[in-house]
Amino acid sequence: MPTATVAAPRDAKLYKPEIPPDWCPGCGDYGVLTVLQRACGELGIPNEQLMVVSGIGCSSNLPGFFKSYGMHSLHGRSLPVATGAKMANHEMTVIACGGDGDGYGIGQGHFIHAMRRNVNLTYIVMDNEIYGLTTGQTSPTSEPGMKTKSTPHGNPEGQLNPIALALAAGCGFVARGFSGDINHLKSLYTQAIQYPGFALIDVFSPCVTFNKQNTFGWFKERVYKLEDKGHNATDWNSAMERSKEWGAQIPIGLFYKNPNPKPSIDAADPALQGKGLATIQKLGLTAEQRKKLIEEYV
């Protein structure tokens, strides 16, 4: 399992390209990025062994600010793109990322199926409960009643619960972090990257410009760590119970980690044993393979 190997730690600076992020000052995504650089350093993953794939949105600009191979793909499509990348070269560590609108709105269908499919990749959702890049409309995780540009009279719709959804969809690693607590977040990242299957980390990453409701302060007052409350992360039912908490107390940390994970789809696929497909340079059928296949038609 190449992604689970812990190599000698590397300096987090090695993952910083020359180009600095251009997010708004104070954006939660800075923390998400910095921690990802530290986590990859801690695991000692060489830059060239990392493929970071995003969708579209403020947070999806992350690959441009992270020194590795990357794809800044289409709105909502980071997961199928990342899945294709993993299938093509399962030896690489693949990280998908994006925002709540990207992953839980337009990309919702892929989100559910990527978890059901159980591809070995880490999915970081920078969840700010708003559409930021389009200047502040309601998102699937916006709270009911929230006033935004698209819902000036208050959000009339319900709020999506990504944690419960992930648990229901069979995700083997379900966690929530907070961009305001970076050491805690780093430990979730390293665990997620090492988990041999699909790992979701929903990260509260406040939008300081367009979400005046769910601010850093708002989250700081409410979040508590599951591990401080003796939560058993191998128990799916208690994870489901905890996932329902929202309000005065909001849990962060590891909700669920499957203690007996089945092999991920890339590990189980007979075509993906051994070296990454992309590294195979002799292409095409052998004479014997071709002969056998033609035989079927005579």
Binding site: I19, D22, P46, N47, E48, Q49, M51, V52, V53, I56, N61, P63, G64, K67, S68, Y69, G70, M71, H72, S73, L74, R77, L79, P80, V81, A82, T83, G84, A85, M87, A88, N89, E91, M92, G109, H110, I112, H113, R117, D269, P270, A271, L272, G276, L277, A278, T279, I280, Q281, L283, G284, L285, A287, Q289, R290, K291, L293, I294, Y297, V298
Partner: protein, 606 residues
Amino acid sequence: MENEIQVGIGGAAGDGGASTADNLALTSARQGLHVYVYTSYQSLIRGGHSWIRLRISTQKVNNVNDQVSAMIALNQDSMDRHLQELAPGGICIYNGDKVKPGKAPEGVQLCPLPVFELAGKDALPIMQNTVALGALTGLLGLEFQSLSSVFEHTFKKKPQVVKANIDASKAGYDFAVKTYKKIANPLGKTPAKLAMVHGNNMIALGAANAGCKVYCAYPMSPASGVLHWMGAHGPSLGICVRQVEDEIGVANMTIGAGQMGVRAMCATSGGGFALMTEAIGMASIMEIPVVMINVMRGGPSTGLPTKQEQGDLNQAIGASQGDFQRIIMAPTSISDCYSSMEEAFNLAEKFQMPVLYLSDLLMSEGHMTAETSFLDREFKIDRGEMIFEDKGNGNYLRYKDTPSGVSPRAIPGIPNHLYVSATDEHDDDGVTISDVYTDPVTRKRVVDKRERKMAGVLAALPKPKLEGPADADTTIVTYGSTWGVVNEAVARLNKEGIKCNHLSVKYLVPFQEKEVTELLKGKKNIIVVEMNKGGQFARHLRAETGITATGHVRKYDGEPYEPKHVVAGIKEVLKGKKVVEAESVEPGWRTPHPPGPGVLSTSSAH
């Protein structure tokens, strides 16, 4: 000497008509006879009606012919629908215990079979097909040995099934040969070594032979055959096969794989292709090679899931927002579906762009024979400028501005070549310019760089050519699957003294404007034959060359062209009609739809 016959097998879905046709086709192929098979069927799993036409010949055949001369009616409905279509000298085989004969047309022999007596009272109902197939084998002059060897091959793990089939078919064979007259020109043999293939299998086998390593799809008729082949063979061939939640996911997953440096492909039909389109622009701006197959069927919307049409050319040309580079090509026959995969992958990788490959139901679901030597060929693999290892040269620019527009592509995983590919506009290093104040200089330069690749593509394409007498002043222009039937029609017209030739256009984008214009220069009549109502290809030809066709033959009733439709259409155009809309008028297509019992609508997936 050409010797051929067209056989029809009619029955309800679930009656076993398809396997009867398969066995007849294989029996013929084993005698070196060329076969083309087209099935007209309903979107049902059980019931309804399906009509399979098999054209069997000592010469190569690429399309259905006009008339049927022999038929097996597996049920009463088939007898009622099709008996009147039989040509003089024809034969109609049916289970005399179950099916009542209609009034045979002049010179047609009714051949009832006493199936209970021949197969035994305890035989399974499906054995009527085997008895009928045996009888047909005898009356067509095929060797019984060829048929029995097909049973031995098909059921090789079940000796008792082989015996039951051989016994029943032999009983039918002997009875028919003893009781009825053989057709006037029995088919005989040729030395050709033939395989019985269909277009979707050719696309899949071609892709495998071209080194495809990742295949993604969502089920959709008539493209699902590619997925089925890949599902069955992928694991042992080292091809990763994923059935994805929708075609948006399919296209994006394929592109994700392509980015990593594998040859990746997906296939769908028009509705699924519509969902894929946003991603096509992504592949183009990120310069990722992928091959995307659209197996066209009758549209719009769900349209006719099991019928033929060339209606998606406009969609392919207009797919995805923005002004971008891609290749659109259309194979011209079932066997060309195989060879074209070699070309599609090479073009995609050499020029780092999506290749849109327009097959259609006619090719993808049609069956025909192909020489085994044609299939058994190593494909030439040309991956273009790729970097597979770190040579420590530093300063790598993924989107380097080069004279050809092609930038050497490093596959992710190599040290010192890091880059991020973005759907946002980007510079040579992949750094986005979408968030800067403005950068018209870079924008123009990178657009020009990508567009330069199209000149390279154009230079790499094989040149189009006229088929038939070059000096004819009438040229029939087509694209894609109508190649075979139009060639046959053109040959007939020339035989009748109407001099004409045929230009089949394989590459829709980039369009070989110069060559096509040159070939059509000075022609008095330029007649476009295509399969849609609006004349999409004629409009494309005009848009690309300024040439306005003088006449049009179109068909959009769901059934393929037969040579007679094309011949008659061209004659009418030459008499002055501007647009001829051909249709299939045989009684079999016209009988009222019987209420189907317990039918389950399905196979379309959309």
